[in-house]
């Protein structure tokens, strides 16, 4: 009886039932920035219902922050920051993987529509006067983020981007550099076919300062006066101990 209902449901709402055809999980859903933190590598893995020619897209998006771009100018012999522009709510980390090196035009148009991919991101800037050459500023933002390893684009199958088995199983390493901001990292997996998102799965990674690192950071920011006094006392003690423990014999 139940089997009959399920079959009926599948026939009536095929999209609904198959829209969750991606099942994904992370080797760990939290990263702690502690004393020994020097970046992290997670494994994103799972199954999907694909056919030949599908595009699988993996996106990891870090917390957003306002970002200033400075432009240097040559002024009387030295390079000085002159003009600047602030982009609002820029993803501090943007890691994207395409399973195919060459994506179909339809799927590329879809990504553009859905604002997926660093070039398709909608970024608002504070100043409008720059509007004609806003693209120059935007491109430099992208370039500097890529240089810092904070925006990453990987294309094609490989052990460092994504591995796929029989259009059913996938595994992809996600490399988090040491300079990441703490916060929530949204992980999305899209299955694209003929310019449509066939299915989609979301999960998240939580990146947090923990232990002593978190305590010191919070101390410095929330109780900065006491922190300053503590820093001075620490230095006074260290200097005093040094003077006496190494007294010349």
């Amino acid at each position: 009886m139940i089997r009959y209902y399920i079959i009926c449901l599948i026939i009536i709402f095929p999209n609904y039932c198959f829209s969750k055809s991606i099942v994904a999980d992370l080797s760990s859903d939290s990263i702690s920035i502690n004393t020994g933190f020097n970046g992290a590598e997670l494994l994103l893995f799972g199954s999907f219902d694909g056919i030949e020619g599908d595009d699988l897209v993996i996106l990891v998006e870090g917390p957003k922050a306002d970002t200033i771009i400075y432009k240097k100018e040559y002024v009387s012999g030295i390079w000085i920051n002159r003009e600047n522009i602030t982009f609002k709510n820029v993803p501090s980390f943007y890691y994207i993987v395409y399973s195919n090196t060459k994506m179909s035009l339809k799927n590329l148009a879809l990504l553009k529509r859905e604002k997926i991919g660093s070039a398709n991101l909608e970024l608002k800037s504070t100043r409008k006067s720059h509007s004609e050459n806003l693209n120059v500023w935007r491109n430099s933002l992208e370039r500097r983020m890529i240089e810092r390893g904070m925006w990453v684009l990987k294309k094609g199958i490989g052990s460092k981007s994504i591995e796929i088995k029989n259009n059913k199983l996938f595994r992809a390493p996600v490399v988090i550099p040491a300079t990441v901001l703490p916060g929530e990292y949204k992980v999305s997996i899209f299955l694209l076919r003929n310019g449509k998102i066939v299915s989609k799965e979301n999960t998240k990674i939580s990146v947090q300062k923990t232990g002593l690192e978190a305590k010191i950071y919070n101390f410095a920011h929330e109780n900065s006066m006491l922190y300053g006094i503590f820093a001075i006392l620490l230095a006074l003690c260290a200097g005093y101990i040094a003077a006496f423990s190494f007294r010349k014999i």
Partner: protein
């Protein structure tokens, strides 16, 4: 072995930091220089944000000055009256300096000003040290050279508010050390240095203090000025990293001891010449960074 620095928010090799502290500590033990003027640019080269490097180095200098002043205190080589007036000036100057620092940080020019200040002052000291050491080397080859004139009173000493400085055997205007302290205080806040490399020659040549009390007195006032910088930077910019400072102190203490023991074994003039070269090399690197066409004229800063 890597350690994540909580305020600088970068991951650093722990041995690189302690080693740097040790190396600069060794040089400061060897030559009796503070070392801040080398440490801060080297920290910046290692990848520590300039603002964190400056504030943290001020914190470390508190420690190295305390351990240094104790030895001078025992020998009664501290002129407390002079030190007090210098530090009053220093606290005014450094408070202004921290305010200026925060202001420059908000308009995005702090890196430039730090680098410019370093190019100017490192260039100056490096040149003077190189000149002095070559002269000393030449002098040691021609014995019987005459000694320079002792200090003379000039018009600056006659400014109002004259005070008697007993340990320094001086009777000069208090305005002079007050302004000197204020000037060095500003530099201390912006460059993350104690300022000994400026205040020591100024005390000898401008104030006319006897050489014996100069180092102790300058160390005494540096403690208070750098403590003031540490405190104010903690409040206004939150850029003092106590983990980084602690590691630098550890390396610095050990290095300074080895350095001060080695100073009796090594030839002074040649080493001073080498230090001058090192200072000039750091200056040159900073200068080139400012003048060479950058690979990318756009730079990025993430605000939080």
């Amino acid at each position: 072995m890597y350690i994540y620095l909580p305020i600088a928010e970068v991951s650093m090799n722990i041995f690189a930091i302690v080693g740097l502290g040790g190396m600069v500590g060794f040089l400061s033990g060897l030559f009796g220089v503070g070392g801040g003027f080398l440490m801060t640019p080297l920290l910046i080269f290692l990848g520590i944000p300039a603002a964190v490097a400056v504030s943290t180095e001020a914190n470390q200098i508190v420690a190295s000055s305390v351990s240094g002043v104790i030895a001078h205190w025992r020998k009664k080589n501290v002129d407390f009256m002079m030190g007090f007036i210098l530090l009053v000036g220093g606290i005014i100057g450094s408070s202004f300096g921290v305010w200026l620092f925060a202001f420059l940080k908000t308009i995005g020019q702090i890196e430039l000003v730090i680098r410019l200040a370093y190019v100017v002052f490192l260039g100056l000291i490096g040149f003077l040290m190189a000149w002095e050491s070559t002269r000393a080397i030449l002098k040691s080859r021609t014995p019987g050279a005459t000694r320079g004139k002792l200090h003379q009173h000039n018009w600056l000493h006659g400014l109002p508010f004259k005070i008697r400085f007993r340990r320094s055997k001086l009777y000069i205007s208090a305005l002079l050390p007050l302004f000197l302290g204020a000037f060095v205080g500003v530099l201390s806040a912006i460059m993350g240095v104690g300022g000994g490399f400026i205040i020591v020659p100024a005390m000898i040549y401008v104030l006319g203090m006897p050489t014996a009390v100069v180092v102790g007195t300058s160390l005494f006032q540096i403690i208070f000025v750098t403590a003031n910088v540490t405190f104010l930077q903690s409040i206004t910019t939150q850029t003092v990293d106590i983990v980084l400072a602690g590691l630098l102190m550890l390396g610095g203490v050990i290095g300074a001891q080895i350095g001060s023991n080695a100073s009796s074994l090594l030839r002074g003039e040649q080493l001073r010449g080498l230090l001058a070269l090192l200072v000039l090399a750091v200056c040159f690197k900073l200068f080139m960074d400012l003048t060479l066409t950058p690979t990318d004229i756009y730079s990025l800063e993430i605000i939080r």
